[in-house]
């Protein structure tokens, strides 16, 4: 028993409060005094995935797990799912609609950005069965004491 886990609710289509879950995650990591650069990477991944849920995914949750050697960020939603994961990972590919683009989203950089900023990314998704994205960030040698 050496893990800490906490999850936050994400409300679909709520653009005003979008980002709150990631800010909460960020604040938890700050109180544990992780390297600011690591926190930034986690925060960017959190925000990108949170926006995906808000834009496409219906309701969902963002959870943070802190272990002695790694951080795990897991985002799950009950949305429409990703039809072709390989295609979605390509920079510039987007399924955003015109409304999203008008708000400045939908550049097709979400998943590529998450891949770039995390050490490992696993996506599980099927059409109409929601999506689970799990990102792992390894802590440098020495890790976090229990």
């Amino acid at each position: 028993m050496s893990k800490f886990k906490k999850s936050f609710h994400i409300k679909g289509r709520d653009f005003i409060r979008a980002g709150e879950a990631s800010i909460n995650v960020q604040n938890l990591l700050k109180s544990m005094d992780f390297d600011p650069r690591l926190i930034r990477r986690v925060a960017i991944c959190g925000y990108e995935s949170e926006m995906n849920v808000v834009m496409h995914g219906g309701d969902g949750s963002l959870s943070l797990e802190v272990d002695t050697d790694r951080l795990i960020l897991e985002i799950s939603d009950d949305g429409p799912g990703i039809e072709d994961i390989d295609l979605a990972m390509q920079a510039g590919y987007s399924t955003a609609n015109d409304d999203h683009r008008e708000m400045g989203f939908g550049a097709g950089m979400g998943l590529p950005n998450m891949k770039k900023n995390s050490d490992q990314i696993h996506i599980e998704s099927n059409r109409d069965q929601g999506t689970v994205v799990r990102m792992i960030f390894f802590l440098p040698e020495g890790g976090k004491t229990d």
Binding site: F4, G19, I23, S31, Y47
Partner: protein, 436 residues
């Protein structure tokens, strides 16, 4: 928790006036205040001098750590370093007349800070221009003008320190000029010089320079605008009523203020109004500032080049130590801008020569700022994080502040750190009693 003090270098707490109402708890952006035993307020070493507690305290128990004007005696040469926010306190009056009023009050020299704000503006534009190709600093650049913003970033958003514009702050440019030109003349003669910073907020200076004699025999004192206003307003009224205004010889351009629009710096947006970048924003208010900083940390606003932040609503004219209401002051500023436009008095070429010599480069490195203002609390372990969650489950989180902490999360953290006990929470205490 660090030392239980009742005053910081920016604010003073009067224990006798405090009723323990606790409205200050919630507004403190660094969660530095706790109320204990309905009276005692203790402050942990996290004050960034924003003045929110001064503004909200109904009892007047919190005041700025500034000095009164009674210090203005005749045994020294008094130099007033004047924030342009002072001009906004006198609707319809020209800045030069206000400075004249200060000289009549007994200040030997008056230094107009808006002159240095203009220099800063040229340097900022040049940095932004060069950064477009060199990319030495990340977008969006954050204005360093409001010192509370810089300290807030060091404390809560250390990730964003590289975004803080590395150009010397206007107040530093002003102090450098005064120290290199004016003070030596007097210290040669063996005369004592005192610099009076006339400020709209408890904090325009770093704690290190708030007290103590300097090597050149000068010392520095911070005055609130509201400290000098009652006296100054009499002189200004006289000057306004006089037929001919007495001519005052000033040696340096910045000893008076030739422009009518100088008060625009007091208003949110005043810093960027005349800047040659379209990709700029002005944000004011503590809550809004924090919300924007949080979003910048998430990677947003990278398409913006420069953001002017002021933690006081409406900008510096909303500072806690002003004499007149912020909306009246804003109205006065807007009328001056309408009358005089946005024009500048200095020439770009002169400033650029100084820029090339590196005279505006801020030497304050992020690491230095972190060590000065960063959070010095011990990092929480995984185990502590779990304990905090358990405490939070017990207290059911209503953020009522009855325990004397600003919110449940902070209380839980205090409990786990050993700075508070669980039964101080009314909900936990009531539950226990019911069980018995």
């Amino acid at each position: 928790m660090s030392p239980k003090k009742t005053s910081t270098c920016y604010v003073r707490f009067d224990q006798d006036l405090c009723t323990g109402y606790g409205s200050c708890l919630r507004v403190c952006p660094t969660k530095a205040i706790r109320v204990k035993n309905k009276k005692a307020i203790r402050i942990v070493d996290q004050c960034i001098g924003c003045g929110e507690c001064i503004r909200i305290c109904h009892e007047g128990a919190v005041s700025a750590a500034t000095e009164g004007p009674e210090l203005l005696k005749r045994d020294h040469v008094a130099i007033a370093l004047v924030s342009p926010v002072l001009y906004a306190q006198f609707p319809g009056v020209m800045p030069k007349d206000i400075l004249l009023g200060l000289r009549q009050m007994g200040f030997e020299h008056t230094i107009d800070m808006s002159y240095f704000l203009e220099i800063f503006q040229f340097a900022t534009e040049e940095f932004i221009n060069r950064n477009r190709t060199s990319q030495t600093a990340p977008w969006p650049l954050i204005s360093p003008v409001c010192p509370v913003v810089v300290r807030l970033i060091a404390f809560r958003f250390p990730n964003l320190l590289p975004n803080v514009l590395p150009v010397l702050r206007p107040v530093a440019l002003m102090a450098r000029e005064v120290k290199s030109r004016l003070i030596p003349e007097y210290s040669k003669k063996g005369e004592k010089v005192v610099l009076y910073y006339i400020n709209p907020c408890p904090t325009k200076k770093e704690p290190s320079c708030l007290s103590g004699r300097k090597q050149d025999g000068s010392s520095e004192i911070a005055l609130g605008i509201n400290d000098i206003y009652p006296e100054l307003v009499k002189h200004v009224d006289q000057i306004k009523a006089a037929d001919g205004i007495p001519f005052y010889q000033t040696r340096f351009e910045y000893e008076t203020c030739a422009t009518g629009n100088a008060s625009m710096w007091a208003m949110s947006g005043g810093e960027i109004a005349d800047m040659d970048t379209d990709k700029s924003l002005a944000v004011s208010g503590m809550e809004e500032t924090i919300s924007y900083l949080e979003k910048i940390e998430l990677g947003l606003f990278q398409d913006i080049e420069y953001i002017e932040f002021r933690t006081c609503r409406e900008g510096c004219l909303g500072g806690a130590l002003n004499a007149i209401d912020k909306y009246l002051a804003k109205g006065a500023v807007q009328k001056m801008i309408k009358r005089f436009g946005l024009g500048r008095r200095l020439h770009r070429e002169n400033i650029m020569r100084m820029y090339e010599k590196g005279e505006f480069q801020s030497e304050k490195k992020p690491a230095k700022l972190t060590s000065l203002f960063g959070a010095h609390k011990e990092a929480l372990s995984i185990d502590s994080m779990r304990k905090i969650e358990k405490v939070l489950e017990l207290i059911k989180g209503k953020d009522c502040t009855a325990c004397g902490a600003p919110d449940c999360r902070t209380f839980a953290e205090d409990v786990v750190r050993g700075d508070a006990v669980l039964k101080e929470c009314l909900f936990v205490d009531a539950q226990k009693k019911r069980k018995r």
